[in-house]
């Protein structure tokens, strides 16, 4: 690996800066009135997470109570956490913008780049770098390949979570929870963490759509919250960072 630290000037700034946010024109007209005035605002930063629970790619794909973008501190409007698996607000995996940038298992988004098989399995990837596209998964995003072509990536991710990912994850979590001799271990769920067989429904404002770009961008004011990329401007509200 090259040693930028010794060679390039101001290297830490270069390597840790965020690339400048492009000023893409918003999609017009912006819907009015803002339909999410009563919904907790999209949190740019991911809150503290319950111990031993896997990170996830988007809204409604969480494995337990308090596992969502607001985390254990709860949302700023009610101060409450989500109640159980499947009810969470948005992703806890490190936000990423593109195919193969996921850090871990089941943390890939989908829809922009990737094969038919990958696009049919959003949020269901084997490991680091094998995910397909950006998280969180905005409601406007559609698959560009495979049997889900032209359809919602988020809806497909929720379906895959219900039928494939959650049953597998739950079995693993239940086993880890029951494991003895590792009291207080931070890499397993707490003993009182509920792991229901049936998932809860995602937050009601987004239960049928997933998180909309209008909400993620805080009423079109924080367009940099959008992580999807691509040259056509069709990954959601024209946003591209």
């Amino acid at each position: 690996m090259s040693d930028f630290g010794k060679t390039a000037s101001n290297t830490p700034t270069v390597l840790h800066q965020k690339v400048s946010k492009k000023t893409y024109k918003p999609g017009v007209p912006v819907p009015r009135p803002y339909p999410y005035a009563d919904v907790p605002p999209f949190p740019e930063d991911i809150g503290p997470q319950p111990p031993g629970m896997p990170l996830h790619a988007c809204m409604g794909l969480n494995s337990c109570k308090a596992s969502d973008r607001f985390g254990t501190t709860g949302n700023p409007v009610t101060g409450e956490t989500n109640k159980c698996a499947g009810q969470g607000y948005c992703s806890t995996a490190v936000d990423h913008t593109c195919h193969v940038q996921n850090d871990c298992r089941n943390q890939g988004g989908c829809g922009l780049y990737g094969t038919a098989e990958e696009m049919d399995n959003p949020g269901n990837n084997d490991c680091k770098s094998l995910g397909s596209c950006a998280t969180p998964i905005n409601a406007e995003r559609f698959s560009t390949n495979g049997p889900n072509q032209g359809k919602s990536v988020w809806a497909r991710a929720r379906k895959v979570f219900e039928t494939t990912v959650w049953p597998e994850l739950r079995a693993e979590l239940v086993a880890a929870q029951a494991e003895k001799g590792r009291k207080g271990a931070s890499d397993r769920p707490a003993a009182d963490q509920p792991l229901p067989e049936t998932l809860g429904t995602p937050p009601s404002d987004f239960a049928e759509t997933g998180p909309t770009y209008l909400w993620i961008s805080e009423d079109n004011s924080e367009r940099g919250n959008m992580t999807a990329c691509g040259g056509s401007g069709m990954s959601g509200a024209g946003g591209c960072s």
């Binding site: 090259s2 290297t11 400048s20 850090d103 038919a116 094998l130 056509s232 509200a237």
Partner: protein, 523 residues
């Protein structure tokens, strides 16, 4: 004419030998030895690989000149819609050229030959494709028909550049002569290769010399992505994708998914899949069928090529995709451009657009023609060079795929090729084009794709890193000295992407990692 979008079918029919091909095969059987046929196959498969490789910088250069989403959603006007469509269509062809290069390389690998990519892109531009004797249509500016030695430039989007694209993809007419040196159409070059494969000297065993599991695998290929799709026109960007119900604020426009056109079709291939691995003579012939049909159109015996790449008519050939794009320029009607009899050319496409409309709206970046690093001002030299270095490293990564243990190929492909292509080079070029060259013509930096040396393949990552450091340092110096905050951002982004490609993982921001070092596979 928009691209066909109806449901795909299984796969294309196998192309039958033409009378001209049967005649040549008989001649080869009589006059050649097995050793000669194998040597010729080696030579012309490598030529085929280099022809496919040569098209990629040409198409990408024009692609990156296009501002596809300067206006979005309901703000899209006819000129913006055309620019976005042109971008999607050109990218769809570029993606299939990468497929074709991989297919020809897979045939070479199967025969025990190592495909050579590193340093094999055109030496300069305008470029003559290897052994090409262009038979393209008479040019729009009165060029007098096919002219021996015509060269293809790196140039921004325009009517004339689309004519150059037609020269590359000019369709082989019925019963054309197979050609090796001085080929008129790519189809005729592949026709010659087909004839060599059909000779009595070859058997399936000749295509089992390289491990099939180490070929570039089908699971790495996808026909469409967010860069190949384009909208039919205005769309409501706030509307969730189906099956989500339309929100109460929705207006009459379709959402992005409802407006999306997919210029490539998953049924667009002969054989079982697009990116075939090869283990028999028939596999090799099917791979060639896919290449020829996608490029020039499915041939109908006794008639000639279709506008589409197969009888299902779901996807236009490369030739017809470009011709349809050209037919939307108002200068198409009445152009002196001569076109082949088959397939019949499309009528003038509406709404007609002009170069002025595109330029006035800032939808085509004023790139210079045929740039090299040295053609740019000295202070931009290192920035340009890293673009070429990254391009060359991608070619080495592609060669390396054949050396990676099969169980690791998917991860290698994702972390090597996908990251270098989408997350480094794509973003780097998009940033380059924000940098003014400072010349009288008001040009902005276009990408360069030179055969820059990265030394021996085993050392190439370190050499890439040296170019990355030089680019990052140059960009940082420029960022510090410019008074233009927008330009300072662009220079900082250049530094960021150059550093991202080759920096130490510990130095990178969380979630980021450098490209894969190929050293273990070449030592």
């Amino acid at each position: 004419m928009d691209m066909p979008t109806s449901a795909p079918r299984a796969h294309d029919p196998e192309t039958r030998l033409t009378p001209a091909e049967r005649k040549l095969i008989a001649q080869l059987d009589e006059t050649r030895t097995r050793a000669e046929v194998l040597a010729e196959l080696h030579q012309y498969l490598q030529v085929a690989v280099e022809v496919e490789l040569a098209t990629i910088p040409i198409y990408l250069y024009t692609y990156y000149s296009i501002q596809r989403d300067k206006e979005s959603g309901e703000g899209i006007d006819p000129a913006q819609a055309y620019a976005n469509k042109a971008g999607g269509v050109i990218m769809s062809v570029a993606v299939e050229e990468m497929l074709h290069m991989s297919l020809s390389a897979n045939v070479m690998h199967a025969m025990g030959f190592e495909p050579q990519l590193y340093g094999k892109a055109p030496k300069s531009y305008p470029a003559k494709l290897p052994f090409h004797n262009p038979k393209g249509p008479k040019g729009p500016k009165g060029q007098k028909g096919p002219k021996r030695g015509d060269k293809i430039p790196l140039a921004r989007l325009g009517f004339e550049q689309l004519w150059r694209f037609l020269e590359i993809e000019y369709p082989e007419q019925k019963d054309a002569t197979p050609q090796s040196k001085n080929w008129d159409t790519i189809g005729q070059l592949y026709s010659y290769v087909r004839c060599l494969i059909h000779t009595k000297f070859l058997s399936d065993a000749d295509f089992q010399q390289g491990a099939q599991a180490k070929a570039i695998q089908p699971y790495n290929y996808s026909p469409n992505n967010v860069d190949t799709v384009y909208p039919t026109g205005k769309f409501d960007p706030w509307k969730p994708a189906p099956p989500s119900p339309p929100p109460h604020w929705a207006d009459g426009y379709p959402g992005a998914s409802g407006a999306a056109v997919y210029p490539s079709s998953p049924d667009s291939h002969a054989g079982e899949t697009e990116l075939l691995t090869i283990a028999s003579r028939n596999d090799a012939l099917l791979a060639i069928d896919t290449i020829c049909d996608q490029g020039e159109g499915n041939p109908v015996p006794g008639i000639g090529p279709l506008p589409t790449d197969d009888p299902s008519k779901h996807e236009l050939s490369h030739y017809y995709k470009f011709l349809t794009l050209q037919a939307q320029f108002d200068s198409y009607t009445g152009s002196g451009e001569a076109l082949p009899p088959e397939p019949p050319p499309p009528p003038q496409q509406q709404p007609a657009i002009t170069q002025d409309m595109l330029d006035d709206a800032g939808l085509v970046v004023p790139f210079p023609d045929n740039p090299t690093a040295k053609s740019y001002p000295k202070h931009l030299f290192a920035i340009a060079n890293f673009c070429s270095a990254c391009f060359q490293y991608m070619l080495i990564l592609t060669e390396t795929v054949y050396r990676v243990p099969p169980e690791n190929q998917k991860l290698f492909f994702n972390e090597g090729l996908h990251r270098s292509m989408i997350w480094v080079l794509d973003k780097y070029i998009r940033t380059m084009r924000e940098i003014p060259v400072g010349d009288k013509q008001g040009h902005y930096m276009g990408p360069v794709f030179e055969n820059i040396s990265l030394g021996k393949r085993k050392d190439s990552f370190d050499e890439l890193a040296k170019y990355g450091i030089k680019a990052a340092e140059a960009a940082q110096r420029l960022a510090e000295t410019t008074d233009d905050p927008k330009l300072a951002h662009a220079y900082n982004d250049i530094a960021y992407y150059a550093a991202l490609a080759t920096g130490k993982p510990a130095d990178l921001a969380p979630g980021m990692q450098p490209l894969v070092d190929v050293r273990p596979y070449w030592s």
